[in-house]
Every structure is written in C-alpha cells, then in structure tokens.
C-alpha cells in the first residue's frame, strides 16, 4: 500500500509518510462522518433538528454558504488575473485556487441541499424555477460555476503522475488545458453574477429595513458590495491558505513576490470596497433607513449587536488590512501580510454574519421581540462536516497533485543556497 501511495505522488515532491498522512486525515474523516450523521438526521427527520424556525429561517448554514462562497472567489479571480489579464505570477497559485474554489462551492451546495431538504427533488429548482427570485439566479450561477470548477479541476487530477501514463488522459488534459481561458471567462461571468445576487437578495428585503438598500435599476447596492468584497478577499484567502499549507508542510511553495502581488491586489480592492461600503452606510444612515421609519441607531441598541460591529466590519477588518496590504514596507513582512489577509477574511465573514444573522435577529415591527438564535448540535455538526470535507479534499489534492508548480524549483533553489553557504564556510576555514 505504501509503495502504491508513493507512486501517485508527483516526482520530486516530498510528502509525509503514508502513516503520518493517515494520522492527519483520521480526525477529519471522523469529523466528516459525525457531520454526515448530523446532516442525515436533518434530511430524514426534517428541519426540526435545527434551531431555525419560520422567523429565523437563515442560520449557521446560510452564513457558512455566504462566507465560503466569498472566500472561494479566489478561484475565479485568480483565473481572471492569470488567463484574462495575463498576470503570470498567478500561475504558481492557480491550481491551489481551483481546489479551494471547488471545496468552497461544493461545500456550500452540499450545505444548501441539507438546508433546503428533499435532495431528490433538487432538479425542481431548474425545472420549476421562481423566475422572480434572486435565489434562482444564485442557484443557476452556483450550479454552473461548480460545473466549471469541476472541469477546471479535471486537468489537475489528470496530470497526476500515474494517471498521465494513460494516453487518453494525458492527451485530454493537454487539450482541455489549452481551452482553460474559456472556463476562466465563463467562471468570471458566473461568479460576478452570483456573488452579486447573493448580496442583492438581502438588499431587496423591503420588510427588513436593516438590510434593505436602494441601488441602480433592479440591483441594490449590496449586489455590488458583495461582488467587490468577494473579489477583494479571494486573493487574501489564497494567500492565507498557501501560507498555512507552507507552515503545516514545512515547505516553501511560492515565491514571496507572489504573496506580495496577491496582497497588493487584495489591498487595492479592499480599499475600494471599504470606500464603497462607507458611502453605502452613510446613505443608509441618512436616507434609506429613516425613509423606512427607523433611525439607524435603533438597530444598534439591541445587544450584542452594538455599533462596535459596524466599526469592526469597516475599520478593523476592512480599512486596517487594506492599509497594511497597500503599504510596501508592511507588505514585505510576512507577519503583517498574513495578519492582514486573515483580518480581511474575518471581515467578509463578519459582513456575511451581519447580513444573515443580525438582519433576522432585529425586530421589524413595534411588537416584535428581539430574536436570538443559537445553532443546534446537528447544525454545528453539518457545518463541521463541510470544514472537514474541505480539509480532506485539499489534503488529498496537495498530496497527489501538483498544486504549486514552483515547489520543486524552490527546493532546488534552496539546495543551491545551501551549497553556496557550505562553499563559503569551506572557504573561510
């Protein structure tokens, strides 16, 4: 088994022993099994297994969906940067970005299927769609984009050392790879719309003045803010995951210049997002919210959702990381870079939390109580299953596929440096 396992690992890449790898995946596999049990309970017994109800219809799962879809935007955005804008540095992270995108989107779709229930009838959404719902656009875009990601993942799999021994796999991978720019274009188009529609579906909630926004034509401002925030944190998440994989595997996987480039792009987009978000908030405070009969401060009188959450979202997790990533001196320092990327990712998660949980918790009528919600263990289990699934897919991909094409080259460069140092030492003595 050990020798078979080794035969699938890319030549020249060092990976942990089979035993250590099994030890690593075991707890995640256990978590996945537990999560699948939880999801099974929800599917078999119904949503009474959750702490959601008719008033609090969006909970942990929708928060998870929105967050992972925003973080997974790195896949489409990196593809856009590489294949459309021809930023060649992105080649060293594109494979990893595709795997992250695939994990995020497939995880989100799985969680949605548990949330919606009746998975055997999932095709109804395509056959009997509600053409007036933004969720229809979201469903269509996400399913199409997941298909795009699966097709983009295919060449990565087929380039596996053993699989490329099969001539038809090798040739198909080669030909598919030549057409990958089409997939990148389609992915960008789809992502643009579904990120926007996910934001838009909150902005059109007239009955929820905390979330309701005016906008351009049929699109509320949240449509554009979601697109911008996802594009901004996508590269940050790629940076963060690459750094984490480097630390966990104790290997250099990409050049520092790639980290800095990702950070610069992320910082620039984040700065634009923060500006747009600040303007949107000002318009909402002074115009939209009073127009619906509520003063904005009223929303923040319900604890724990005080104004601190707004400050944290815009300043702490928006402006601050953007400034760090845009300052060359700070960007050159890995600690600052990674902290800023992590803060940006937290920022988008907080924004999705606010849009989902805070929106539903706040009363909308004078006799409404303030609602509180805490997920049930079945919900948490399903949430953790998605996380475990993501870790497992990424771990297997990292082990058996060449996710970072420069890894081998960087090792050779490190060896060259080592040798030079030895020579220098030998010369000294």
């Amino acid at each position: 088994m050990v020798s078979v396992d080794k035969e699938f690992i890319t030549r020249g890449l060092r990976r942990s022993s089979t035993g250590r790898f099994l030890l690593w995946i075991l707890p995640w596999a256990a978590l996945l099994v537990f999560g699948l049990y939880c999801a099974g309970l929800c599917l078999v017994k119904g949503l009474n297994q959750t702490n959601m109800d008719n008033r609090f219809a969006f909970g942990l799962w929708i928060f998870l969906d929105l967050t992972v879809i925003a973080l997974g935007a790195g896949a489409f955005f990196t593809g856009f940067l590489l294949y459309i804008l021809k930023i060649d540095e992105m080649r060293s992270v594109i494979n990893s970005a595709v795997v992250i995108g695939l994990v995020c989107y497939s995880g989100a779709v799985t969680a949605l299927m548990v949330d919606v229930g009746q998975p055997l009838r999932s095709w109804f959404t395509f056959w009997y769609p509600n053409v007036h719902s933004m969720l229809t656009e979201v469903t269509f875009c996400i399913s199409c984009y997941l298909t795009v990601l699966l097709i983009e993942y295919l060449p990565i799999v087929l380039r596996n050392r053993k699989l490329r021994d099969v001539p038809s796999f090798l040739v198909f991978e080669h030909e598919l790879h030549k057409l990958v720019y089409v997939l990148a274009g389609v992915g960008t188009f789809l992502s643009f719309f579904h990120q926007g529609s996910l934001g838009g579906l909150y902005g059109v909630l007239r009955g929820r003045p905390f979330a309701f926004r005016e906008g351009l034509a049929v699109w509320p401002t949240t449509f554009f803010l979601f697109i911008l925030s996802a594009a901004a944190v996508g590269p940050s998440f790629i940076l963060l995951t690459t750094w984490a994989v480097e630390k966990l595997s104790r290997k250099r996987l990409v050049r520092p210049a790639v980290f800095r480039r990702l950070a610069r792009i992320s910082g620039l987009l984040l700065a634009v997002y923060v500006l747009a978000k600040a303007l949107d908030t000002l318009v909402w405070i002074n115009r939209t919210s009073p127009g619906t009969g509520f003063q904005a401060w009223q929303y923040y009188s319900w604890q724990p959702f005080g104004t601190w959450i707004l400050v944290a979202e815009i300043v702490l997790f928006g402006l601050l990381p953007a400034l760090v990533m845009l300052t060359p001196r700070l960007r050159a320092h890995t600690g600052w870079l990674v902290s800023a990327a992590a803060m940006a990712c937290c920022g988008v998660a907080l924004n999705r939390f606010v849009m989902t949980v805070q929106t539903l918790a706040l009363p909308t009528l004078s006799f409404d109580p303030y609602l509180s919600y805490f997920p049930s263990w079945q919900e948490i289990g399903t949430f953790l299953a998605v996380v475990a699934y993501g870790v497992l897919v990424y771990s297997f991909s990292f082990r058996y596929f060449n996710l970072f094409p420069e890894e081998r080259e960087l090792r050779l460069e490190a060896a060259a440096r080592e040798e030079e140092e030895e020579l220098a030492l030998a010369g000294r003595y």
Binding site: W127, Y128, S168, V171, H174, L183
Partner: protein
Amino acid sequence: MLPWIYGFNWNAGHIVFLGAFYAVLAALVATLAKAAIRSRRDLRAGQVEAIRWHSDFEGMPACDQVCRHVLTGEFRERQCPHAFDCRECETHAKLIECHPLPPVTEPEEDVFGMAFPLDRFYHRGHAWARPEKDGTVLVGLDELGARLLGQPDELRLPKPGDRVHANGAAFHARRRNAEVRVVSPIDGEVVETGSADRGWYLRVKPTSNDAKTFQHLLRGAEIKPWIQREMERLQLALTAEGAAPALADGGVPVSDIAAAYPAADWDAVCGEMFLEG
C-alpha cells in the same frame, strides 16, 4: 428552466436571463466537446509522445529550460520556446548560420573524467544518436546517463519494427525506485536492439536523413559546457534530495552514482536529469 416551463414569459428580462445561461451551458459543452474531439485527433495522429514531452517540458523549472545558445555563451539568458526542438527555431537557424560551430579536432571530449565521443549527436535528456554508414542510426545512453543508472534493475526496449519519436520514449530503465524513460533523439523505426555491453541500445532507421534530422541535438563544442551545467544540476538535485554530495573538489563521478547515494530519492534525481515530469 426552459421556455415551455411554468413562469416563463416572452419578455426581455426572461430572454436575457435564459440566453445568458444557455450561452454558458453551450460554452461549457462546446469546450468539453472540442477538447474531446482534439484528443481523439491527437490519439489517432500518434501525438501522445509529443504531448508527453511538451507536458514534461512545461513542468521543468525555468532554469532547466535554457536555450542551448546560453550554454555556449551566445546568450546570457534565454528560455527555450520550442521544448528543445531547435528544428522549429528561427533564432537557432540564424545563429548557426552566423556563428557555425568550430570543426571537431579531438575524437572525444573529456569532461569530469567522462568521455563524450564527438562523432555523435547528444540529446539533452542524455541519449545520443550516431549515424552509421548503412543509413541507420545507433541510439545510446551518454556517459553521465549511464553512470546515473549504473546497472539498471530492469531494461525495457522496444521491439524491432516499433516506431520511436524524437523527444518521445526510446526505452525505459528501472534503477532502485526510479522508473526512467530515456528520450529518443530521433524519429524512426527500430530495426535492432542492443545492450549496455554493446555500447548502444537501439538501431533505428530514421524517418528522414536530411540535415534537419539532427538539428535539435547538441554536438562538438556544445558538449563540454552542457555537461558542466549538467554536473551542476546533478549536484543540486543530489543536495535537494538530501544526498549531501561532496563539495566540488575536482573529483570525478563514480561509475554507479545511484549506488553511491543510497539515501537519495533516486526517482527525483533521475526525473531531474532525464527531463521527465
């Protein structure tokens, strides 16, 4: 959602929405279909070996993709855009015309104690091709390649009548954990197989015998700088695999390098040196 389905109206919004998604689905199906059709065409045209070589070449570190004219000092820096197939390279043709290689005066080049006869052409994947008087070409493993493999545990040669393709696999060898495909320097049909004892592995009837047949291969004055660079690559590969080679002290490689470094991942070292992904 289709036009005859519940809720559909023939208005601009629905048509644009549907049109966009049908276009996306059409683009995805067309992409997959095009890739499948092209793959079938490639398989029928026997392009597998060429594609494998291109795939291997793309996977090589940029520093290993250097142009042969960098080796001879004509360029300071240049990455080969043709996967070492100089037959397609206009720059190579021009350079050879302007600066022809000096005539060979010695029968062989001695580099680090290894003999590289100059009566033959060398592929950068450590195979050589020597034209014979009867119009056939002998294919063998150069001295460095032979020392890397030592006494192979297994050798798989093609049968007489099989075709080999330039940059495709000529034959396969296994040493320790390393499965190595040795590239063929030329296109042709195998007419006879040899062995390490005979000094060559294949006798090939080349597809054509014109000047272009050997144009992509190294020769004469190019050999020494190439092997010097190969030794640097070997040293690096060994260091990267934790083999801790001796410092450059003027020594020569042993006859069986694989046996000298039992701890090294020989598969990785051979992949690096035989240009295999």
